[in-house]
Amino acid sequence: MTDNEDIRESESGENDSTDQTAQAAQTAQAAGEKKYSCMCVGNCQSRCRLFVHVKDGKAVKTSMAPFSDPRYNRVCLRGLSHVQRIYDPKRLKYPMKRVGERGEGKFERISWEEAIDIIVTKFKGYQEEFGKQSVAFSTVSGNMALLNGMHSSYRLANLMHASQTDYSLDMADTFGLGRVIGSGGVFNQSNDPADLANAKTIIVWAANITDSHPHAWRSVADAQEAGAKVVVIDPRFTTAASKADQWISIRPGSDPALAMSMAQVIISEKLYDTSYMLDHTVAPFLVREDTKRFLRLSDITGEKPQKKPGKKLKDPYVVWDTENNEGKVLDQVKRPALEGTFTVSGFKVTTAFSLLKEQMSAYPPKAAAKMCDIKPEEIEKLARLYATNKPSSIYPGFIQYNNGLQTGHAWGILASLTGNIAKPGASVGHCGLSLYNLNVLPLLFPKGKTSPIIPWVILKDVLRSGEFHGKPHPIKAMYFHGSNVVCNAANQNQIINTILPALDFIVVTDMVETDTTNYADIVLPASHWFERLEFVQGPDQPYSTLSEKAIEPAFESKSDMDIYRLIGKGMGFGEFFEPTDEDFIKMVIDTDAARAAGLTWERLKKEKAIQTLPSCWVNWKGNKFPSPSGRLEFYLENPKPRLDCGIEIDQSREHLPHFEPPFEAWPDNPLAKKYPLVYHTVRHRWRLHSQWYGTPWLRELDPEPAVRINPVDAKARGIKEGDIVEVFNDRGHVVIKAIFSEAQRPGIVTVPKGWQKEQFIAGSYQELTHDHVNTSDYNQSFYDVLCQVRKVQDNE
């Protein structure tokens, strides 16, 4: 990057990364200051390696720590503010017991012994009286490290046979695409974001990439410098849009229409990659007209395939052999038919590609452009660019509408048609690989998977009916860890007024006071990431890393794992929590695959960061996909919901995507008359979800929340810049300052995400969002919201 790179290298004497790291740690010890190698483990997926500079037992600085490949050296404004987060004015210091009403924020200091005793007594009591499931653990993404993140929670919950809530966040599109790939509703979809530098076309789709993933943006900028075309699809004029070669401002929630119309253009203009489709997708598979399933050998022979022990059920797919004009088993056919309807052994079948072609024909650019409120030519141009200026990557944001699933599915179709996946520069989806080559399951499920999982979005129904999966399922107590659910989950008033009051007992662990700790009966102070030992791996960089314990836990705080150790011991699972953090890490990395990648405890301890994947690695290498067929299944023969909650879905609507308008935020919705504006709660660089909400340095730069509104919409409501306004709908309101911004597409207002209730003049940004349940993906559609804005007070 600069001249000093040479200096850094020459200091280390040789280019051996290991030595460089060790040496860096040593030179740090000069001048009474000690440097520790730590990992920033927020839910941004960048996983920056930081040096924590410690003096007199206090962290005095965080700085960027190098990786062996300097391309991965990274840090951001939040990573450089940890010193203030560690010593945050809102830091929780001691265990506390509620003395006021829930939500009042009145607590009394208690000892750890008393806190654990209360929790254990309560948990045991509920489990005895109402069953094991009556205690529920709820953990989300507050910590993405191995031990103290979700895994510690899983460990205790599964030992206790307690319930767990599923995150139910904003990953509908992840699931939509994951169904095609076969990876399901989890991350680990894309190539290494650094590989974006190898793309010739990059579509940044609804991602505020410069704020949320600045290090991924770095690679986009590299690609652009090398001549790649960058297209940003976003209703809002984001920073990325300002840098892009082309910015397409679509109507909010019209993403699936755009993606499917691109597919339609690619199909009708024959820009697809036939051989890729024949070899790596289900395109040539024959779909039975009657069952909508793929035709298999057993359909023809009538013999049920026998499952051999230890092996996958094998029932070969049948395709149409164009040489002999007959249906034959896939691996016996040289040239399968891509298109056509045939009759095989009496079954009327059509190729998956033909079905796709037919389905997409409903979305020609003219029709789709109307839905997206753009010009048809823009769609054509984009489709041609993506299909021909290859390799192309789609860098997605989270499609937080009720139709996010269709968008993700359609991205899978685009990749299937063009082969823009599993190659350098060709990628689609969220996040790279994390926790690979490891032995994680014994950490999560020491005595097996016993914990029933309830999606957060239907928790309200479970609490109301006392039933889940059609069976009694009372829940009395909840333990929240790594999640500020009152602030970050949709429909805040329902959480506060319906969900939390239905619980007899609430425990919240956190580092700082939050909207959620305010509603706890017991609050436990968690230590900061640098106050404990951790193991971190991926996803958006190729390293396996040890995060050292740089400082002692501040005040009386404890690591989450240590808190689970105490509760676990109280609950009678002491033996499972005897291993130290180091023991757990050693257990998890003790695999042949890890060793083959160079990951051993000895090296980890010495080097702190070991590159265990190649730089710019490619996901799904060799086009090996985890789907049942091993191919990209753009046609889903047996679409299932993300989670089995005993609720059936209409499969016929999910074999292939179709355009379904957003649940709420769509002009045809009659509600739009009353609430004509779309309401977006956007993610900024100033916080990570709600973390860093009170960090003083960041608050100096970003002191208060404000709603951004296009001057056209503001003037129509008599609002002047700086006025105090109320943004509201039937679910709630937020009173907030108004800022004019032409970046806002008229008809949309945005409020930044993650501010706590007390930081607003009144209400909260999260009161307006809804928790409509989509029984296919069980996610929350944070952007699928309508609102109105009115002036409350003039700007003096």
Binding site: K61, S63, V75, L80, V83, R685, I739, F740, A743
Partner: protein, 208 residues
């Protein structure tokens, strides 16, 4: 090297206005509350992160602004106490122990708010010094400003703001060395400088 002349380059095509440089500066130099030596200005609309123009014909850029370490600095001329001075390598420094707090430098500087005045005793959120150990403590009644992290560059390190840039948009080096990254970039890229007509010869270049 005998003749070093340090310059800073900021690639406006790459800069995303993320403020990481500002925070790195704030932390590294242990800047008092409300003092920012390196600020990020939105080159667009009137408020941070707003564009110029009317939807959808918009343009937006970011411009980070710190002391421009001019070759012929107006501040050095104006300072009655020689508290602000230029080093041989071009770094314009401020000696808190010599500064009178007359603010002539602030008034003489063509750039807005690159110098900060500690009207009162500097305040901090934490009760211990953070950032780089070698940073001098700021004093009441004195002016402070970007030093190109002199304490780091003297040890062969980059200034804090340059090291951390997530977008790789900041470069620092010796312009006298024709092989340095900065010289190479100035040779190959189009650039501009701020308020050149003031004749102070800024050492910060903006690649455009």
């Amino acid at each position: 090297m005998a003749n070093n002349r340090y310059v800073m380059l900021i690639d406006m095509k790459r800069c995303i206005g993320c403020h990481t440089c500002a925070i790195a500066c704030k932390q590294g130099n242990n800047l008092p509350n409300q003092i920012w030596w390196n600020r990020v200005l939105t080159f667009g609309g009137p408020t941070m992160d707003t564009p110029h123009g009317a939807f959808p014909n918009l343009e937006m850029n970011f411009l980070t602004l710190n002391c421009q370490h001019c070759e012929d600095p107006a501040c050095v001329k104006a300072c009655p106490a020689e508290a602000t001075y230029k080093r041989e390598d071009g770094v314009v420094m401020q000696d808190y122990e010599l500064c009178l707090g007359c603010r002539m430098c602030i008034m003489a500087c063509p750039y807005s708010n690159v110098r900060s005045y500690n009207e009162d005793r500097p305040e901090y959120y934490l009760d211990f010094q953070v950032g780089d150990e070698l940073v001098e403590e700021q004093e009441k009644g004195t002016v402070s400003k970007c030093t190109f992290c002199h304490h780091r560059i003297d040890e062969g390190l980059e200034p804090n703001c340059v090291e951390v840039c997530p977008a790789n948009a900041r470069f620092f080096g010796n312009i006298e060395d024709k092989n340095s990254t900065v010289s190479q970039l100035l040779e190959t890229r189009k650039y501009t400088q701020l308020l050149v007509d003031k004749g102070t010869g800024p050492s910060v270049y903006y690649l455009i």
